[in-house]
Amino acid sequence: MRYLTREPLSPEEWHREAMSEHSGASVEFLGVVRRLENGVPIQYLDYEAYEPMAEQMLERYIQQAREQFGLSRVYFRHRLGRVPVGEIAVIIGVHAPHRAEAFAGCQFLLESLKRDVPIWKARAG
């Protein structure tokens, strides 16, 4: 698996990525499990995925984002399994020449994930 993992996520790997000299903008999104899920206090969320399809769709969306927004670099990781409150469920990082493309590219990937990629919050506990 390239974009999905059952290990805890940290943005450090992404932070070590060098930026191209033609990139002037870096945008990073972190999605973190909140204490309240639909108003109810929880300890964790369990994520599941249809893994081969999710990986294939992510690969395709990332390629599309690179071309459409001129992204020089993309980092995408989604954690599966049990994710405790306060820990990272998803990281999306992009580098682009200018700020508008960087924000648009990062948001495109996040909205595509939320709309189409077969990953579910299977259980809260």
């Binding site: 399809m53 999710a54 294939q56 996040l110 939320k114």
Partner: protein, 81 residues
Amino acid sequence: MTVTVLAFAHLKTVLGEDTLRLSLPDGVTVRDLINRLQETYPGLVQWIKSTRVAVNCEYVELDTVMRDGDEVALIPPVSGG
């Protein structure tokens, strides 16, 4: 022909399993399969409007004709991120 049906999230509970193996006549469409599943699993009916179907990891329309060996996934609304 034989197809594999995969269920995810709450649809696993509805079907009672996460994987079904079904023998179907040739020429059957995704719509035919869904109708047959709703007959066998009446609990599926209330969820089917919000369910998308993927064949071999691609979202498909209901009139897609299935082929031997296809992997059919029932995809409830996704909630990643």
